[in-house]
């Protein structure tokens, strides 16, 4: 049952990830990417990382993809304005990616699988994560706020237009 669910989610994830790359309309790409993110959230639930699954849906499907959709609407990108690569370049891209996959699979194939550690349950709970984050990873946590501050300043600097009612 669990294994079947894993196969189903993986199949859906890989298929919609491929559709992100190959669909002509950018809006469809965004929608397929949202499906991929939902399946990845399903994988998190299978891995017992419940909180992360919820956060993943909120941040990725809820916020980041909305931003992408906004930009595509804002820039008025349609099927007609989609730039095309020449066929030889596309072929080269597929070959390169295939080679990367071969290298990844080849390097990981012979490795020994780790033995599952038995320990306390509920690694994915909010409480456990909070304890680890605020005890062990305090500095990265504080630095994250600086990163968000920098992103805020950068976005406002770049996005704020001098003129009023600027529609690009």
């Amino acid at each position: 049952m669990t294994l079947n669910l894993f196969y189903f989610l993986s199949f859906l994830a890989v298929l919609s990830a491929l559709m992100v790359v190959f669909s002509k309309n950018p809006v469809y790409s965004v929608l397929y990417l949202i499906i991929t993110f939902f399946t990845i959230a399903g994988h998190y639930i299978l891995l017992d990382a419940q909180f992360l699954a919820v956060v993943h849906v909120i941040v990725y499907a809820g916020a980041i993809m909305v931003l992408f959709l906004y930009v595509i609407m804002l820039l008025n990108l349609n099927r007609e304005s989609e730039p095309h690569k020449s066929n030889i370049l596309k072929f080269a891209a597929v070959i390169c990616a295939g080679l990367l996959l071969v290298v990844l699979v080849g390097s990981l194939k012979g490795t020994e699988a780790i033995v599952q550690q038995s320990g306390k349950a509920g690694i994915g709970y909010v409480k456990t994560l909070g304890e680890v984050m605020f005890k062990e990873f305090l500095l990265p946590f504080e630095i994250t706020s600086i990163l968000l501050l920098a992103a805020m300043v950068g976005a406002v600097m770049l996005g704020k237009s001098e003129k009023t009612n600027d529609t690009i």
Binding site: L3, A17, V20, G122, G124, E136
Partner: protein
């Protein structure tokens, strides 16, 4: 309650490898800068899946905290990156990366 779900960790490694490769393929294959951005998100997510899988299998919550930070980095990256993209669109009226190969025009 066990974190064990009966799925070997190899499967997650293959899944992450496949997703990462598709992300790389998208970056090489497409010329639309927004699609390239989305493929970068896909690659980040492949790494996230692997981090969560290892965190569960090794019973160490640190991996999941890393995923948290990666999410924050991804949000910051998207915010600034898309703002840059919009500025470029204003100047060149396109998101084709072949037009964006010079830093001034």
């Amino acid at each position: 309650m066990q974190p064990q779900n009966g799925i070997p960790i190899d499967y997650y490694i293959w899944l992450a490898a496949a997703l990462f490769t598709i992300g790389v393929l998208g970056v090489l294959y497409r010329r639309n800068a927004i699609i390239i951005f989305m493929c970068i998100e896909l690659m980040l997510n492949a790494v996230n899946v692997l981090l969560v899988a290892f965190s569960t299998y090794l019973n160490d919550a640190a991996g999941q905290v890393f995923v948290f930070f990666i999410m924050a980095v991804a949000a910051a990256e998207v915010a600034v990156g898309l703002a840059i993209l919009i500025m470029m669109y204003r100047n060149t009226k396109t998101t084709d990366i072949n037009i964006l190969n010079r830093l001034k025009w």
